[in-house]
Subunit: 178 residues, 2 copies
Amino acid sequence: MKKAQPGDDRRTLLEARDEFVTQWGTIGTAWGINRTMAQVHALLITAANLMSTDEIMEDLKISRGNAHKNLRDLVSWGLIRSVVRKGERKEYFEAEKNVWKMFCIILRERRRREMRPAQAALQECAARTRGLRGAEAAAFNKQIKDLSDFLELADNVITKISRSEQSRMVPWALKFLK
Amino acid sequence: MKKAQPGDDRRTLLEARDEFVTQWGTIGTAWGINRTMAQVHALLITAANLMSTDEIMEDLKISRGNAHKNLRDLVSWGLIRSVVRKGERKEYFEAEKNVWKMFCIILRERRRREMRPAQAALQECAARTRGLRGAEAAAFNKQIKDLSDFLELADNVITKISRSEQSRMVPWALKFLK
DNA sequence: ACCAAGTTTCAGAAAATACTGAAACTACAA
DNA sequence: TTGTAGTTTCAGTATTTTCTGAAACTTGGT
């Protein structure tokens, strides 16, 4: 029987991380997020150190253009930030690793990018049919208004949650579950 | 100056509904949902009566195959149901119009389709790296565990919300906002 | 001014996704 | 049975999204 080697642990870790990156990519896809973006994110939240564009290209076997684009997108979401080590020209990246903060960032961004336009569209439709005669028009207007009101409530709740501290929300959630 | 005609109201309504269908399609796309599926849904939640496959094909100018597929998908989500009028062979469709119920259905389905696989993947990764030696392995394992714990908490909260009555949750949300 | 290291852009290629239309299928009614 | 009204399937096509790789650009050092 072979003895367990330190190298075995290292290999297991690398494999597990690879597995995580792959899985996170698949999950991202199901959530409507670009696979590569999810993989880059997965790589960075499990990175022990800052990573350069070249390391990411290497790890994921992707082109420079692809790596570049997805890194920029992640930066624009606020999920990662770029760091320049003094004396070096190369850019490095690091992810926000705190899960609660990640969650709040995603909430805020999805709200901004996805809920806002929806609300605007609904309000436009509601305005156009306000005061039209006929039962059908009234029913349509009510349906739109219901959707719009609901979205507004949800929007407010999300805003409030995304501004809260983990230390307040988590115990609160646990209490809610009881 | 022309007098307002009943026909004007009807035209305005049809146009507004068309606008809503288009916008909902775009919004759906941003949310990672197939455009046609979102449009069919929009059509049905604002329909005064049951609609047949042919009417939907006609309204959206889409093929039978496409209409069929998206109707089936919506049925499998539970967002619409098919109705057979007695004495008729044709299938008709109607949507769940109550916004709170719609929301709960979507929560439950996304949880089932998207959160469950994510949790399974995370647990697998956590298991593989539990007890590995070295600081990096410990950090990796902790990060995965944090993600996994958070997802589990979120899962429980979503489950609880999706089982609640609107009459309990909405006042509660309003109080939360204060 | 010029070079070297690095970043950004973007046209074309590849891959993923969605759609069409027609044929196959199902089930009821004459 | 046979015909008919309707549903389902699916191979091929179209569209959309993502990716590549190389050229253009930027910036700091000599």
